[in-house]
């Protein structure tokens, strides 16, 4: 066991402090170090992994990692086929999760995921001060002071990668007595029982799926109809949990109820749940167990008192497109909390930041943004040449994992530099690009249209105004054909010299 003196990042002043050692904290620290930004990482946990040290409850993730895919493992394009590994610049730092998968499913188990994260932390030598709990925060003239179980840390800026980790319940009379998802009783104790699950998101369906071989009757109830990812290509209940839904559609004993939960009562030997639905009217359920699968909130502790404004009933901090508190500058977020930065919400979609797949790319963009804006690090802007820019952008639209994981949310930007010509300005939040003044440039994203077709979409900024142009779709999702080349060349040609 390491002695206290051997632990990294002793209390003191640092240019930047990162709190958390889940996927968000590990990923942002990795990129900060590669950019040369000195920082301390603190974590209350004894080891890396964050929520994957405990959840999902039933030990199987709902996002794919395909051991064999259309791209080679340990390459950047492979990241799209592996939503769970953290991302890295070197092949040795990539694709750590599939290494540990035993082939029984392309959804990794919790243990396989946790091993993948540990391997990333080990190989990249991310330095974390474990068992160091952030306890209180204070504003100072030039930044913040964090009180921790090990002492005081001071810094101009702090990145909180603290997860959506706090069990959350809505205000329903009687819900205090109802166990939350995290306290779900063992399934064997629910054999032959009637179970009411409050909530119809992934955690509700995860439990319903696990209870199918056990419970006599399963009711999932909440006011809003379930949203299924197979229809939205993103948000909603994942296909892995469609089985309870099919059971409901076929009338097999699962009930999916769109109704307001008025109150819950604990009686001597069962529970009563009182509901009112627009279609069902008032309905009362007598069940053996009620579970609140009502989600999580961000454990912001004293940050709201300091000025971090929240929304969604206090569950998420309001953020700028670069994941900075929109009311307390200098406080940034990484990991699942970045789902609070909504983006431009095309067709209602707010990106895929709630999962590792999207949040890992956000972390890289955040690290780059911090390095540039707070630490004066010059980020290379490779010249693309008038004969290379079209091919580069279309290759990105076809294969960039950032653009596929974060559709209509992250964009690849190329700028027309007066001296260097077309240069690559990297991946940025689309919302930041379209709403900021700037030089003539073009950004490319991947987006779904209302028919469910993916299109590369170009945002052309000319004389300070941004216009949107969807390029043709492709049945095999390869956007490098003659039609796309010609249309993109014509668009870029409006700004500067381009060879198609």
């Amino acid at each position: 066991m390491a002695r206290v003196a051997d632990r990294p990042h002793p209390p003191g002043r640092y240019p930047l402090v990162v709190v958390g050692s889940g996927p968000g904290g590990l990923q942002v620290s990795y990129f900060l170090r590669r950019l040369g930004v000195h920082h301390a990482v603190l974590s209350a946990d004894p080891a890396p992994g964050g929520m994957f040290r405990r959840y999902p409850l039933f030990q199987r993730l709902n996002t794919w990692t395909k051991p064999y895919a259309l791209a080679e493992r340990r390459t950047r394009p492979y990241e799209w086929y592996d939503w769970n590994s953290l991302v890295g610049d070197e092949p040795a730092h990539r694709s750590t999760v599939p290494e540990f998968m035993d082939g029984t499913s392309y959804f990794p188990s919790r243990a396989e995921m946790a091993r993948g994260l540990e391997a990333f932390a080990e190989r990249t030598r991310v330095q974390v001060r474990y068992d160091c709990r952030w306890e209180a925060t204070r504003r100072e003239d030039d930044g913040f002071a964090l009180e921790t179980s090990d002492g005081q840390y001071r810094s101009r800026a702090v990145v909180f990668a603290i997860g959506m980790a706090e069990p959350w319940k809505p205000d329903i009379p009687g819900i205090e007595a109802v166990p939350h998802y995290v306290d779900t009783p063992p399934v064997t104790t629910l054999a032959g029982k009637r179970v009411f699950l409050i909530g119809k998101r992934n955690s509700g369906f995860e439990i319903a799926d696990a209870l199918l071989p056990w419970a006599r009757q399963i009711v999932l109830g909440s006011p809003r109809p379930p949203i299924m990812s197979v229809f939205t290509s993103g948000a909603g209940v994942r296909a892995k949990y469609l089985v309870p839904y099919e059971d409901y559609v076929m009338g097999g004993g699962v009930f999916i109820l769109d109704a307001t939960i008025e109150r819950v009562e604990r009686t001597a030997d069962d529970w009563r749940v009182f509901t009112t639905g627009q279609r069902t009217g008032p309905l009362e359920f007598r069940v053996d167990q009620v579970i609140a699968t009502t989600g999580f909130s961000t454990p912001l502790a004293d940050l709201p008192a300091l000025g971090v404004a929240t929304f969604s009933q206090g569950r998420l901090p309001r953020q700028t497109p670069y994941w900075e508190s929109s009311t307390l500058p200098g406080i940034y977020f990484a990991g699942a909390v970045t789902q609070g930065a909504i983006g431009i919400r095309k067709h209602g979609s707010a990106g895929n930041s709630a999962g590792v797949a999207g949040a890992r790319h956000n972390a890289r963009v955040l690290a780059t943004h911090l390095a540039q804006t707070r630490f004066g690090v010059a980020i290379p802007r490779p010249a693309l040449g008038s004969d290379g820019v079209v091919g580069f952008m279309l290759a990105e639209a076809t294969r960039a994992p950032e653009l596929w994981n974060q559709q209509a949310y992250l964009a690849r930007v190329v700028t027309l530099d007066p001296a260097a010509g077309w240069v690559d300005d990297g991946i940025v939040p689309l919302a930041a690009y379209v709403d900021a003044a700037g030089p003539d440039a073009a950004a490319i994203t991947v987006e779904l249209d209302t028919n469910g077709d993916h299109h590369p979409t170009v945002y052309l900024r000319k004389d300070g105004r941004v216009s949107e142009h969807a390029l043709p779709a492709d049945p095999l999702l390869v956007f490098e054909g003659t039609k796309q080349r010609a249309e993109l060349a014509a668009l870029l040609g409006d700004l500067g010299p381009v060879a198609a």
């Binding site: 205000d171 809003r224 307001t260 929304f311 095309k346 209602g348 987006e447 969807a470």
Partner: protein, 139 residues
């Protein structure tokens, strides 16, 4: 703001005046809450895939080619024209001060209005008023 407070705020808006409490609660869950800081764009002129917004608090400007044409305040809504027509908005909507909205995703708007015909009727009334005003201007 708790879900109950959102339901209370909705109950005070003309748009939702005809809904019962359970209907309001269900509607409140269908919308998402969203905040915008001063100067932030909510609707973007010429961008497809926009959504339907109802203002709970604050004020916003309607701008066409950068020129302010109208301001919107609590209880007013925007984005419905582009959602209904499936076309990009012809104006920007920009927060004039911190703005709290309820947002309904574009693709969810049609099923929502069909489920709540009284809300649809209120929207029709608002559109009729706008049309009348526009006709008066022309006449």
């Amino acid at each position: 703001m708790s879900r109950d407070e959102i339901v209370d705020a909705m109950a005070g808006l003309v748009l939702f005046a005809d809904l019962s409490r359970p209907q309001l609660a269900a509607a409140a869950h269908t919308f998402e809450e969203e905040w915008f800081t001063e100067g932030q764009r909510i609707l973007r002129q010429g961008f497809t895939g926009s959504n339907f917004y109802v203002i709970l608090e604050g004020e916003a400007a309607v701008k066409i080619n950068g020129e302010t044409r109208a301001t919107l305040a609590r209880g007013e809504f925007f984005g419905e024209v582009s959602v209904l027509l499936g076309e990009a908005p012809t104006a920007d909507v920009v927060a004039l001060r911190p703005l709290r909205c309820m947002v309904l995703a574009g693709p969810e708007t049609e099923p929502f209005l069909i489920a709540y015909p009284r809300v649809m009727y209120r929207i029709l009334q608002a559109q009729a008023r706008r049309l009348r005003t526009a006709n008066l201007w022309r006449g």
